[in-house]
Assembly symmetry: C3
Homo-oligomer: 381 residues x 3
Amino acid sequence: QETNSPAFGKGLFNLVGKDSSWTMKIGTRMQILSITNWDQNDGGNLADAESNFLIRRARLKFDGYAYSPKLKYKIELGLSNRDISGASQYTSYAPRYILDAVVMWNFYENFELWAGQTKLPGNIERVISSGNLSLVDRSLVNSRFNIDRDLGLQLRHHTYLSDKFLIREKLALSQGEGRNVTTGNQGGHQFTARLELLPFGEFKGKGDYSGSDLVREESPKLMLAATYDSNQDAVRTRSNLGSYMENDTGLYSTDINTLFIDAMFKYNGFSFMGEYADRTADNPVAVNTDGTPTGEVVAVGDGINLQAGYLFPSDWEVTGRYTNINLDEQITGTQPVSQYTLGLSRYIVGHKLKVQTDLSYLSTEGNNDELMYRLQLDVHF
Amino acid sequence: QETNSPAFGKGLFNLVGKDSSWTMKIGTRMQILSITNWDQNDGGNLADAESNFLIRRARLKFDGYAYSPKLKYKIELGLSNRDISGASQYTSYAPRYILDAVVMWNFYENFELWAGQTKLPGNIERVISSGNLSLVDRSLVNSRFNIDRDLGLQLRHHTYLSDKFLIREKLALSQGEGRNVTTGNQGGHQFTARLELLPFGEFKGKGDYSGSDLVREESPKLMLAATYDSNQDAVRTRSNLGSYMENDTGLYSTDINTLFIDAMFKYNGFSFMGEYADRTADNPVAVNTDGTPTGEVVAVGDGINLQAGYLFPSDWEVTGRYTNINLDEQITGTQPVSQYTLGLSRYIVGHKLKVQTDLSYLSTEGNNDELMYRLQLDVHF
Amino acid sequence: QETNSPAFGKGLFNLVGKDSSWTMKIGTRMQILSITNWDQNDGGNLADAESNFLIRRARLKFDGYAYSPKLKYKIELGLSNRDISGASQYTSYAPRYILDAVVMWNFYENFELWAGQTKLPGNIERVISSGNLSLVDRSLVNSRFNIDRDLGLQLRHHTYLSDKFLIREKLALSQGEGRNVTTGNQGGHQFTARLELLPFGEFKGKGDYSGSDLVREESPKLMLAATYDSNQDAVRTRSNLGSYMENDTGLYSTDINTLFIDAMFKYNGFSFMGEYADRTADNPVAVNTDGTPTGEVVAVGDGINLQAGYLFPSDWEVTGRYTNINLDEQITGTQPVSQYTLGLSRYIVGHKLKVQTDLSYLSTEGNNDELMYRLQLDVHF
């Protein structure tokens, strides 16, 4: 029996190779989720309950450095059916088992070069790990507009403008069709730039990319950031996500641009996260060579997401969220939607062992409303 | 080199987190199997040999407790193609990689609440791990009638009626469509109740749920048990297994009820396991809205399985098995079958390193008989 | 924190069970690859650049012995989409996650019996691990003619003819349809025999099955070998690989024979590898019962691959490769191709941490030529 394993939530193993020639932290986690949905029926009442019980996520994570502390790596694998779904001709009809497989090389001072597959520097909500959210899951703004993971290169840099004022720059050059693609680049490449301003210095415990103020920041901390993403000759309806826009000669392509402006603020148990997303496309309606529409369109439009929570000293948290999405109705035929979410979380060992529940009311113009109740258990080693 | 690893068969790792904040046993196992089948030809002779060599199962298993010994968990993953097969629209077209992902909370005295995906408290033969069988594989009664794994909740309790007389109650509420489903509950829910009577006390080394009397019980041990399972508005032909009964408007559904009565007896190297299974359905013939049959029917009928073995002091075991299945012929169009199996096992390190072989004769009324020979090697770390 | 982990490249864990009852080395590796292709256009210029960035391979490897040093095992799992692709009705429509799952029993003196799934004793280039190549990837001769992995038995033996002269004999009996098949043997079985002659003794550090002379052999080392493989009633176009030859009554089958002659030579940083492959089939054109061709044909023909490299004292290596393939043009309709490759490798920690790049010019008779540039990073724990 090995009794020198890390504390709960700190990984299964924290390996250090001979002569410190490498390190690896191995972690695993799972989320057990129950969802119940009610639709508003013609009489205006909520009815037709539908339920779903699932292993929402189950992951294995490996990270550390190889040979030199300047050469870091991260591998994250998905195990649940939701994690690995998405097989298509573009993934060799194989499940998408690998989430991250990336090498990060600190080649000079504050510069890092990343190569492989990992999250793009997109909206904050996407980059926060699904295990560190303050509600059961991410918002509709994220699911409509995020730029997820991709294969390619990233260049990252950070510097201090003053004693405290930290700025970070993140650039990415990617294939533009998302993760686990085996068929190579279609259309053109994707370019991403993100700038992050932290005027009051770093958050404690990487709190800028973690939901809820679990560390109860003693002084106010803020991150203000913007991402601009240009996917040249993109072939999918949501930039590097969504359906492939197939037409009579192969794949329809158009430039898709996505803008994110987001903020994170934390102070003394209070946390606020806000996001604005906007997507445009040169020619959002996919057409065949003779100009007839194929039926696929780029999901152009914008959305806003505002979320705030307070962590009581008892480690119970109440969180509220407002989400509004306006897709271009003429192009997408989709009505604006608003969602109101109220969440309650009990952090037993921070994000590592927690029970979260939330209630969401979805209001769609001209359509029936929906109510959703979720309950989730997280266990992260 | 770490020389403080567990003994062979006791897991790869037995981790204990700092301050005993968690534990994890990590194990792995594989089964290499060879099968040869002969069909009786029109002349009455066994001929047309067909062979199959495969990695039958390969598994990774993680279990222990998280944060508190009262909060246990188990994760089991399948690796072989047979383990992970079964992708469909109901599993996001992804392989079914996760077998178990369940959390078990001992919230009060002898009560445990389980949440997640794991085996239902069904027939004993199903619940015995495939690595702990006394023949190469489970019987036809199991493959026809078992209720496998599902997603949902279980409530478990045990108590002693006297010094020795142990009883266990197991209740489950499940989605009713089996494991790894991502599309939520179809039709209604599934309810399972199992009662187990152990009048002479617990078996040594969890022998009630393990084939063969490897520990050579010094006094007779018996478990008598019954399970009643009601799958409300079930949509698959074998309750939560089998084909989905698709019809013109979606999925046909009917209540499917399954009864199991089973027993395990062990004494001094001798072991006996018996099972009776019976399945009924309110309306076993799946129909379209106009009443025409879709072609799918619920596999209603009953079956019996009797198996006995003796473990010689040399750790060789001889096992015999008789299996009989009577599906309702009018509904299913299936003739009764009987199977006679004779097995020989050599336990080198118990079930952890063993070679098993068996010969099965299958007799089907009105059809050609079949002979099957199997040879399997198990290696379990 | 565990600081007694192996050195970089020597595995994540080197476990030794209690009382030396088992051992396991656990390793992992990944390859991040970028490919750019140019086609010669009608004007004779190289144009139409296409790029592909992918996680080429990601693997988990487990090996050691179980219970006795005479009973070794190896399990290798693929994680990347390229690794696990190939799902079909013959693999239960499941991804091919397991690469190796094999048990090796040293039952008598220099004899070993292998059972399970692993590489057949085919051409040397195939048997060299993809992590130990001296160019970015294997040659076209390998991709056209290799006999890959299969399920079945192998018998291996080695002996010394003199003080130094080592010979090895390897025999295999396999299903003949390749790895991860769950549908059993189709057609007949596959028989493989390989003889290896090492007149100057063993290579240092298993260098006979590793690219590049990283150990800088102090005296010349040579392996000369030949494999003859006969796949009886084979049903796939490249023996146990390629398309299944389906016809009107099921699967067309014919005997396919493959011959390999290969050599490896190393001395003082210089390495040479040569291979000749030849494939014949009794009736290479797949037909229906009425004799009409199905469109599938066995890829009969021959190929040659010659490769040499020199490792400079700085651990930079320059490698050249010439590959020529002549498929039977009348049967396959395929023109002869030649490929010229020039590679540059930088071994930072041998094959365990390396950057490799190569440039290949493909010349096809009567067709447009192609240029391919590749850059790959290997990280192996």
